[in-house]
Symmetry: C2
Subunit: 130 residues, 2 copies
Amino acid sequence: MPEHDAAATARMVEQEGCPIVEVLDHVAGKWAIGIIVAAAPGPVRFTELERAVDGISRRMLTLTLRRLERDGLLTRTVYPTVPPKVEYSLTDMACELHASLLELTSWAERHRMAIARARAAYDVAHSAAG
Amino acid sequence: MPEHDAAATARMVEQEGCPIVEVLDHVAGKWAIGIIVAAAPGPVRFTELERAVDGISRRMLTLTLRRLERDGLLTRTVYPTVPPKVEYSLTDMACELHASLLELTSWAERHRMAIARARAAYDVAHSAAG
DNA sequence: CTGCATCCCAGGCGATACTG
DNA sequence: CAGTATCGCCTGGGATGCAG
């Protein structure tokens, strides 16, 4: 069981909220970005996310989903049907975030080539002249 | 020695660049955001960054700096004085990124309380009704 | 001042298998 | 379908100490 430290959590609320690094780490984390972007258009099911977020494992999808839910960025709706159906939606807070995240992914898309080239150049320079 | 795999790097360049998840992971990583934001106003020295990026260790600062330099986001200028002086500046690519990152940190700042509260609520709900 | 090297551990994360 | 459980590797990342 995870069983988050309730005392520590309470302390945060009383004080000034979560440290920004931590918030950013959750919200802009490796998988979180993809999930939030994928969930933005509307309610999304587990398996849809699994396919949308390229490269994610079932485990990390679950974990990241839980963390985002805990942080109040996602709402999880369970339909007690058979087979089960679960939908994830962004909260208002997360919708606001979504715009920034889109800019980010857009930037990444535009510069992935340049970055690959920069790396190659760096590697050459640092293998020749150790 | 790290000695990045030159073959793999070359393959990336020929093909389509770096996978977006990887780019985002570097660029929006836990420490990278703070560093880029701190370096945006102008050339910044190592120790300034160490103080600016709250909570970072000397080790992680160095590692993240190197990675950002390798990815072509930072330029590193060494002044051969004594004691040594090194300045880091954003590249054009990174300046473009900086705006998005600012939005992100601004969002984090605005919502840290709400997130702390959401967590507390989640924890209560999930410890009582396991 | 600006690092790199080393030790070391907790946690991230993938792989795989099992369940309601 | 939508998870949970377990194992095990590997990396992130702190602490400390040395060097140019």
